[in-house]
């Protein structure tokens, strides 16, 4: 068993799906499910190994630093498991949700996205990272426009426009890095980076920050995000919020912690995180469309994650990872529920949701549940991660950031609860005879259970967070494992 399966199997499936599509559409729908079941098997077998001792896999027989290597340490183990879980749930949800042809293309792109994201998380080579970023991005552009409508195309084009900037910056940074250190292996770069002149280093850092900052929705680089989230089909919104953005922020943090350790970057990240969070939450306040609101909320949550990463202590990195995990789950749940709410009400507007709580009690319940969880109310998992973020930020003495996080939480509570209380009005609504399909409900049910379970037993996740955080912070160990495994 090797971590390369995480990349190869979805990639293989992505190529297989169009071929199978010629034979049977139903089979196409099943393939991603099988892939995810297999991946979870891989994850379960590899997880206990990777969490103790990183697995370094060499591709094509060239030893590091010459060949491309995969690095499956605790952090990658955690993230790939998370991606597998979210991916599985998204597939389950899409099973009945994506009814518009061509479904085989949807699943093909979805599988490519999974390939790209797991690739980003696993790779130990910067250029390979770029390639996976691009695979993810191209799949994401296409998925945004999947519905073939006017708005979808517009959103996708904006995403592509900004996304191209992102890839240009990342590529430039990699080129400059290579020109200076003549290696692409991340561990190798980390050892040699100190010989690079300071101005060049800062220039490279800025390029990485810009490039990956775009993908991880840092303000003011996140203009694409609200459009893409809101116009893509609902499960794709969950893919973006739960997988793509998480992989990008991982890449950014990995590079920053590995290569640029100066304190001032951390301060910069905290400030950018606060600005991102505040502006996003404030913009979400008066949104008319539910999915756009969720998009802004996602950006806000990413701001929170960036803050916690920026603080850069072990508890804060742990809190950031925990928050990432919870946000991935909860935001997926919200997108799922919103998807069916939009479907049943026949409109993307929030104002069309009045009284759906009576007509569609289960879907509405899931939405309310997700809303409470993401605001950070107990006993849901979001409570703990927010608390951890706050405590770790406060322990570094950044009380202003604590206050601002809580301020934005109040704002968040307002706009979420506005929607929730709309759902639970006592108004008569025209009953929509269509039922929410079981697969969608099961998907939401799984997420709900996980959220609740982690809420009561955060150690389940936190336990694995400590080695993951240490991996990110402990540069020497990474270099050692990456170069001389």
């Amino acid at each position: 068993m090797s971590p390369v399966h995480f990349i190869a199997i979805p990639l293989f499936a992505a190529f297989l799906i169009p071929l199978v599509g010629k034979v049977s559409k139903n089979l196409v729908k099943l393939i991603p499910g099988i892939v995810f079941l297999y991946l979870s098997y891989v994850a379960i077998t590899l997880f206990p190994i990777g969490i103790h001792k990183p697995i370094v896999e060499i591709i094509a027989g060239f030893k590091a630093p010459f060949g491309i290597s995969l690095y499956y340490g605790p952090l990658a183990a955690f993230l790939t498991t998370m991606i597998t879980l979210i991916g599985f749930v998204i597939w389950l949800y899409s099973y009945k949700f994506i009814i518009r042809e061509p479904i085989e293309k949807y699943y093909m792109l979805f599988m490519m996205l999974i390939t790209g994201s797991t690739g980003i998380v696993l790779t130990g080579d910067v250029f390979n990272l770029f390639v996976f970023l691009e695979i993810t991005a191209i799949a994401a552009y296409s998925l945004t426009a999947f519905l073939r409508d006017k708005d979808g195309a517009e959103a996708a084009f904006k995403y592509l426009l900004i996304g191209s900037f992102s890839s240009t910056f990342v590529l430039l940074a990699i080129v400059l890095l290579y020109a200076n250190v003549h290696t692409l292996n991340m561990a190798d770069i980390a050892t040699k980076i100190s010989s690079v002149p300071l101005t060049t280093r800062i220039f490279i850092l800025i390029l990485f920050l810009m490039g990956l900052g775009i993908e991880s929705e840092m303000f003011p680089l996140n203009g694409w995000a609200p459009d893409a989230y809101s116009q893509a089909p609902s499960p794709v919104g969950a893919v973006f919020g739960g997988i793509v953005v998480k992989a990008s922020i991982y890449a950014l943090m990995r590079l920053i912690y590995l290569m640029f350790e100066f304190q001032s970057v951390m301060h910069f990240l905290v400030i950018m995180g606060v600005i991102t969070m505040l502006i996003a939450e404030m913009s979400a306040m008066r949104q008319q469309q539910i999915k756009r609101m969720l998009a802004f909320s996602s950006i806000g949550q990413m701001g929170l994650v960036i803050i916690a990463f920026g603080v850069g202590t072990e508890p804060s990195v742990r809190a950031a990872l925990f928050q990432m995990f919870n946000h991935a789950l909860i935001k997926s749940l919200l997108f799922f529920a919103a998807g069916y709410l939009v479907f049943h009400s026949g409109s993307k507007k929030i104002s069309a949701l009045d009284g759906l709580g009576h007509d569609k009690p289960i879907t509405s319940f899931f939405f309310a549940f997700g809303a409470l969880a993401i605001i950070g109310l107990p006993p849901f998992s979001g409570f703990w991660s927010k608390l951890y973020v706050l405590l770790s930020v406060a322990n570094s003495g950044l009380f202003a950031a604590v206050a601002l996080i809580l301020f934005s939480s109040v704002v968040e509570a307002i706009y979420y609860l506005r929607v929730v209380s709309r759902l639970y009005f006592n108004t008569e609504v025209a009953t929509d005879v269509r039922r929410t399909p079981v697969s969608g409900l099961v998907a939401m049910g799984i997420l709900t259970l996980v959220i609740l379970f982690v809420g009561f037993y955060p150690n389940l996740v936190l336990h694995w967070m400590t080695p993951a955080a240490n991996e990110l912070l402990n540069k020497a160990a990474y270099i050692k494992a990456g170069l001389f495994h």
């Binding site: 800025i206 003011p220 001032s264 008066r286 109310l377 107990p378 939480s409 307002i414 009005f425």
Partner: protein, 615 residues
């Protein structure tokens, strides 16, 4: 077997079960909810005094334990929880979404029980938030109007909860622990600035729930709009959680600091002003529930005064009043709810003369207002007596005047309340009104008996209170089962008082029966002397219209200058500003690209400034 985790488990499992069962077998959900509260009542009552349990969750050790102080409030919650759920069985019978209702109701009860048994700040906050969101869910239960009211409630609660949280975070970052046992008594180990901030933030946080002015604006609307059984619990038990928290902060944290007297003084005055202003507002209300809501705010003000003064007697008075207020305010809200159930309104200008139709509700309301007014022989007298006594003893003469004024003014609204709903002319409209079902009568009757007994034997309640005070490190004070002392040797023996009052009443009753029985004449609305002016058909002639017109006119400026408007304005300004802010997302892809390039340019130009410092 009987331990705190089971109590919480019962509450939350019962909540979920009643929600699930609503969708499977709707008939069973009310029995399930009722059974849950009965079990809770038994478990809380039988809970051993020294149970303590540690639960490791995340990095924290959550400690739950019983203290005399917590148990006092725990009993209150359990009893009120049982009564209100019993009351709901018939009150809510015709309503929709009962699964939702009972689930959140039991969540609130569970949350409150969690709060009182918490022995560390994390679990306190944990349950505090559960209580907050589930009560929010109940506030928005009723109708469309409830939406914005509920949101207001939640925003204030969130601000309160988050100021508590900042306090907690400050404590954690300076002490590294959140266990009560490590914090209480060790507060002086941290710097003064942090101490002051923690105490102020926590008092603000708990003050929101106990509707301390100027943080009270959510209360009247939220009380008025939530379903009556919940209003009883809301005003009775939920607001007491704020008092519980303030008690903890005052006596366990602030009491050990150098600036304790300033905290006391400020808080006492805020409490006094709250009591006075709330009473004025209450007088001007036409809606019975809002009237009671303002009355609650006023009573909470008294309690705060008592706590803040900090002498043993005043604290005893405050806790006594806290428990008593929970009971009598529930009685009043239940009586009002009964009226609402039968007439469909709580507007005092519409309902009148229900005394003969709903005698039990009337008696409950009557005893309720007698208790509020602090007239012997009911419990309110003992509470007020102790409060005045302690204020005079400790030399807060101005506060006595304020409190006394508030207390006297309270008669006005109490009179208006009972008069307009139950007395006055009988109207045709309410001819077919019946008394409420027995499930609603029982809690009302039991609580009526309770206030009566407590009035005669205040010592029954003072026993647990004095052990609670021991936990709060307050010196004990003198009392006997039915005798109240004052410090210059005088005493009031409640039994004598009761006997004399009973004697007077019996004599009066006999007198009135003999004298006036034959001459009784029932009047209707139309039975009036109009001095030549003939009232039109659609003129509301109910006595309660413009009940206190001159008084209302005199306090009109006060009513107009409501702090609520300031908050609303601030909220609007914020929201408008947020709205402008989102215009940065212009929708033009090129603009976004421009942002990217500009940001790059800024980073490059100021790279020295931003990244130049290398540590």
């Amino acid at each position: 077997m009987i331990s705190i985790p089971y109590i919480l488990l019962i509450a939350f499992a019962g909540a979920l079960l009643s929600f699930v069962i609503h969708h499977i077998a709707p008939k069973l959900r009310t029995p399930v909810a009722l059974l849950t509260t009965v079990l809770l009542l038994y478990f809380v009552w039988a809970l051993p005094a020294n149970s303590l349990i540690n639960i490791k969750i995340g990095d924290f050790i959550l400690t739950w334990g019983t203290t005399a102080y917590g148990q006092l409030f725990g009993m209150l919650v359990a009893v009120l929880g049982f009564f209100t759920v019993l009351y709901s069985t018939d009150f809510m019978a015709s309503k929709e979404r009962l699964g939702y209702f009972y689930m959140n109701f039991l969540f609130v009860i569970g949350g409150m029980l969690g709060i009182v048994y918490s022995q560390d700040f994390i679990s306190l906050f944990f349950f505090w938030e559960i209580m907050t969101w589930s009560s929010f869910m109940l506030v928005i239960y009723c109708c469309k109007d409830a939406q914005s009211i509920g949101l207001k409630y939640f925003v204030f609660s969130a601000i309160g909860a988050y100021s508590i949280l900042i306090g907690i975070v400050l404590l954690y970052s300076s002490m590294g622990t959140l266990q009560f046992k490590n914090i209480f008594g060790h507060i002086n180990e941290i710097s003064t600035g942090i101490k002051i901030s923690v105490i102020i933030l926590m008092i603000i946080g708990f003050g929101v729930k106990s509707a301390l002015m100027p943080l009270h604006v959510w209360a009247p609307d939220a009380y008025a709009v939530s379903p009556s059984p919940f209003t009883a619990l809301f005003s009775g038990a939920l607001s007491k959680m704020g008092i519980f928290g303030i008690g903890l902060v005052l006596f366990k944290l602030a009491a050990h600091t150098g600036f304790y007297s300033y905290v006391q003084y400020t808080l006492a005055w805020i409490g006094g002003i709250t009591a006075l202003l709330a009473t004025f507002y209450a007088i001007a209300q036409t809606d019975a529930k809002k009237l009671l809501a303002y009355s609650s705010i006023g009573q909470l003000g008294y309690i705060i005064v008592g706590l803040a003064i900090g002498t043993p007697l005043s604290i005893a008075a405050a806790l006594f009043l806290a428990i008593l207020h929970a009971i009598f305010k529930s009685m009043l809200f239940m009586a009002t709810g009964a009226v609402y159930m039968r007439t469909g309104t709580t507007n005092m200008t519409e309902v009148s003369g229900l005394i003969r139709k709903m005698p039990i509700s009337f008696v409950t309301a009557l005893f309720g207002i007698i208790t509020v007014a602090g007239v012997p022989p009911l419990g309110g007298f003992a509470a007020k007596w102790m409060l005045y006594e302690s204020l005079i003893q400790s030399g807060h003469y101005f506060l006595v005047i304020v409190i006394f004024a508030a207390s006297t003014a309270a008669f006005l609204y109490l009179f208006r309340y009972i008069f307009s709903l139950f007395l006055g002319q009988e109207e045709k409209e309410w001819e077919n009104v019946k008394e409420v079902p027995w499930t609603m009568q029982i809690p009302m009757i039991l609580m009526t008996i309770f206030v009566l007994v407590i009035g005669v034997f205040p010592g029954l309640l003072l026993d647990p209170i004095s052990s609670a005070m021991q936990y709060l490190n307050v010196k004990p004070f003198d009392y006997q089962m039915s005798v109240l002392f004052n410090n210059w040797g005088g005493k009031v023996d409640m039994q004598i008082v009761v006997r004399s009052i009973a004697a007077v009443f019996i004599l009066l009753g006999i007198f009135i029966t003999i004298k006036g029985y034959r001459n009784t004449r029932y009047v209707t609305t139309k039975d009036i002397h109009t001095s030549g002016e003939i009232p039109t058909e659609n003129e509301n002639l109910t006595y309660a219209v413009d009940f206190y017109k001159p008084f209302e006119r005199s306090i009109a400026p006060l009513l107009k200058a409501s702090i609520d408007k300031v908050y609303t304005l601030t909220g609007d300004i914020f929201e408008q500003a947020f709205d402008y802010l989102r215009y940065v997302y212009t929708g033009n892809g090129q603009t976004y690209a421009m942002y990217v390039v500009l940001f790059l340019a800024i980073l490059l130009l100021f790279s020295e400034l931003i990244f130049g410092i290398i540590l």
